[in-house]
């Protein structure tokens, strides 16, 4: 019995557990006042369904709260119990090793027909986990049912013809809306807290460098060694972002100017979707293109330069993967971001400014260069900042086309690695989350998050100020 319950899919179980009583409560609450409505003895405050919604709501919410509590507490308490039942020599292990052992036990126990491994202790722990899990579930389910029943009786007691059911239901609905809006905030908190926590774990882990050694260290070899000097990664990230912006900034800005100031509405309606399409292509496709087509071109170009008579041999590295290939393609990817944002901002510049400039005899390009662009400058800078933040955080292109070698060189045809590429390299595959190697990925992620958030925040503030100025 316990075996069966321990293996039931929890998602469906809790769904039925919540849905069935809620439906029941809806009909009970609704029917409670049908007689009043039919006989006409009293006037109802709300329409009949609202009484049903109210009872369903009062039933559902306590059950949901209890189940959430179970989800948060259940598995951890089961683990703690198993850990306390293990023999003494196992408990003497470090918490990290014990945790890894328990992870294996849980993974094994989750299999429905878990084969015996032959290790007596392991098999027993696995079976014990299923039992304890089932017990915990039973307790959770019972508490949930009890809470739902309490909520139900509470609601049924309050229901009278003059009860303001609709007001209450609407207030409840508004709470739901508020929670949904709050999820976005929760996500941010989740990101910040988890990254900070894992980063602290990293600096506490054996073999980890200090903060100074991490940020300013010049040797990075987290895959095989224990060198965590992230400066080459920051360098690579900045280098590729600069290359990308060298492509995206002029082309994106000129496209935006042309679209906003010169293009006919007809042309606009054609070009805009094309640019949107460019923005809609997955980054993994850009990465494939960069690695398969552009990188070989860059390499042969570099070899051609090396072969020139006045250039010293090995002047350019001419690697099969190169920062230049990644940067060029990333630039193309970012063009639409720059152009669509700048386009909006240029169009927001009041027409009167242009008219004034044209009226004193300037050509259109002079009006643009000397009046419109200076007026739009803050907004354009903001769009560039957003684009830079995008370039810094871009992952797949650099993973596929920029290489894995952590080095500091200004030669764009050599292979470089970036913060994002290293995060992927460190966290891909089946590694535990407890070694300094994997934890360093979170430390890198924290740096990345902080920097991009800074850029975004500044950029969005500028855009906001700018909108206020002209609205």
């Amino acid at each position: 019995m316990l075996q069966i319950i321990g293996h039931l899919p929890m998602g469906w179980l809790s769904f039925t557990l919540l849905a069935a009583p809620a439906f029941l409560a809806f009909y009970m609450g609704r029917n409670a006042l049908t007689a009043t409505l039919v006989s006409g003895t009293a006037q109802l405050h709300s329409r009949l369904n609202y009484y049903g919604y109210y009872t369903a709501m009062c039933t559902l919410v306590p059950g949901l709260v209890v189940l959430l509590l179970y989800v948060m507490l259940g598995p951890t308490s089961v683990r703690a119990q198993i850990a306390s039942e293990l023999p003494g020599y196992m408990q003497a292990l470090s918490p990290m090793e014990l945790g890894q052992y328990l992870d294996k036990v849980v993974d094994h126990a989750r299999l429905r027909d878990a084969p015996a491994t032959g290790n007596l202790l392991f098999d027993m722990a696995s079976r014990r986990w299923v039992e304890l899990e089932a017990l915990a579930r039973l307790v959770g389910i019972l508490f949930a049912l009890a809470a739902m029943y309490l909520g139900y009786t509470f609601a049924m007691r309050r229901i009278r013809p003059d009860f303001r059911a609709r007001t209450h239901v609407e207030r409840g609905g508004r709470m739901v809306l508020f929670i949904c809006a709050g999820i976005a905030v929760l996500t941010t908190f989740g990101i910040v807290l988890s990254l900070i926590y894992e980063t602290l774990l990293f600096f506490a882990a054996p073999g980890a460098p200090g903060l100074g050694g991490f940020v300013f260290g010049t040797a990075w070899n987290a895959q095989t060694g224990m060198d965590f000097g992230a400066l080459p990664l920051f360098f690579g990230t900045v280098m590729i972002a600069i290359l990308a912006m060298a492509v995206a900034a002029p082309i994106g800005l000129m496209s935006a100017i042309y679209l906003a100031e010169y293009a006919s509405p007809n042309l606009r309606s054609w070009i805009k979707p094309v640019l949107e399409l460019l923005a809609g292509i997955p980054t993994v496709v850009y990465g494939f293109f960069a690695a398969m087509v552009v990188a070989p071109l860059v390499r042969s170009g570099a070899e051609w330069v090396n072969a020139l008579s006045f250039v010293p041999d090995d002047f350019l590295a001419a690697q099969p993967q190169s920062a230049l290939a990644a940067g060029l393609i990333m630039g193309i990817m970012i063009i639409p971001f720059v152009s669509s944002l700048s386009d909006d901002i240029i169009k927001a510049v009041p027409q009167s400014l242009r008219d004034g400039a044209l009226a004193v005899g300037s050509t259109r390009s002079e009006a643009i260069k000397q009046v419109v662009l200076p007026a739009a400058l803050p907004g354009i800078i903001a769009s560039m900042l957003l684009a830079i933040s995008r370039a810094i955080g871009e992952t797949m292109i650099v993973v596929m086309a920029a290489g894995q070698r952590a080095q500091i060189t200004i030669d764009p045809t050599s292979d470089l690695t970036t913060v994002t590429a290293q995060i992927v390299a460190l966290l891909t595959g089946d590694t535990g989350f407890d070694s300094a190697k994997t934890l360093s990925a979170f430390a890198l992620g924290f740096m990345l998050f902080a920097v991009t958030l800074g850029f975004n925040f500044i950029a969005l503030r500028i855009v906001q100020r700018y909108q206020e100025k002209y609205d």
Partner: protein
Amino acid sequence: MTDAAPNISPGHSPFAQPEAVRRLKQRHAAERRFRFYGVAAIGFSVLALLVLLTTIGQQARSAFTRHVIAFDLDLDAARLAPQGVEAPAAIAGNVSGFNQLVQDALRTRFPHHADQLNLRRELYGLVPRLGVLAMAQQVAEHPEWIGSKRRLRVVLSDDLDLFLKGGITERMQLKLTPESRLSRLETGDFRLQDLSGQRFSALHAARDTRAGGWPTILIRAQDSWFTLLDAGADELQLRHLAGPRPDERVQIAGYVTALLISTPESDRTISDHQIAWTLLLQAQGDIQRVPNLSLLTHADSTYPELAGAGAAIAGSLLTMLVTALFAIPVGILAALYLEEFAPRNRLTGLIEVNINNLAAVPSIIFGLLGAAVFLKAFGMPRSVPFVGGLVLGLLVLPTVIIASRAALRAVPLSVRTAALGLGASKTQTVFHHTLPLAMPGIMTGAIIAMARALGETAPLLMIGMVAFVNDIPAGPGDESTVLPVLIYKWFSGAERAWEPMTSAVILVLLSILITMNLAAVLMRRHFEKRW
């Protein structure tokens, strides 16, 4: 009053001075240049898009067909079904039995080499070992075939498949005079003499001009294939590769075919013998080119000729389902709160700033969040669409909220005031009037958000969706991978055959994405209302 008009003599007109005219010309040239920069910038973007699409399309073309070999096989019960015909699972899994059958068929086909071990191994290399799985499956479904002779197909090895799709550098036809003779030398090699002379100068030249690594030249005379050892102007030294071995001395007339392969044998994964066998089989109609449907239906495999994107397509669908079920409702409700109900206070302002910032956070950070919170803290399993869907849901949530808010804001105030004036509550106004009117705009935003989620790779790498999965997932709790991750994985594959297949999967992904974006654009055009 006409004489009161200012008397501007030509000499005083600002445009009469050559200096001014020159300046004006310069300014107009600058204007034209500026315009040209704009056109060039847009042209560059359009060109980049075209180049990207056509290169990938070009590369993908060869992956949509593939070559199969057909064999007449004696379906021997003792070998294929040692546990009896009633055990279809055993038949379907009997890889070695079917492989022996295919290898026997190959040996009877090319008996000359049966005694040389390494040549035999090359011969068996025509068919990948697991290539017989499809055949075994077929036989298991039709146990009545066992004991009879049937014509069945096996995929050709990926390297030979690529060779047939374009490995031949150049093809030449040489007309021989009737007196040409093919004679066997003591060494076992052959000599082809053309007595009228000069027929072979082209071959001779081809052999000589290519510096660095001899190109391989394969010669077909009658029904046999030879490799060229040495070429003179009127005679060729040949070594026999495949097909009937000619007698001591034969008269040859008509044409000989010469194939030029620029990579020498030592730099290839396929040998001259394998090429010759393949060409012979093809000439006899036993190798055919068929549509490569398994590319869309098969699950992943370590053999490119057997791998398909079926499992990844299913995984993508499941992941998108979870993402849509999470992000769209939550996003719409959050937008409703912020746009319709939220009081204008600091908390609301904080939420708004937060959402705008979250929309610009790099996607890989969401992957880290998923790894740290969902996998590590909540103990959810790795590599499953449920977790992937949640992570992508959080990723696109800000996009959905922002688009929904814009759509809600576009609904005019008069609709709201009218509903409120007729006695509807605030909630009724919103849910009965504002939301339905904003729905087309919201859905457009939702489709674009889903398209973005469908193309995401990095966050899914973080939560382990790169695991090798050879089953098509049935539910959001099964291990699986998704299309973009599959592209990344195949891209990392060493064999050359992965490249066209990766391009083909990219085309599949792009066509889905373009359809979604197009649907969004059309929806926007169709439902767009000017209030």
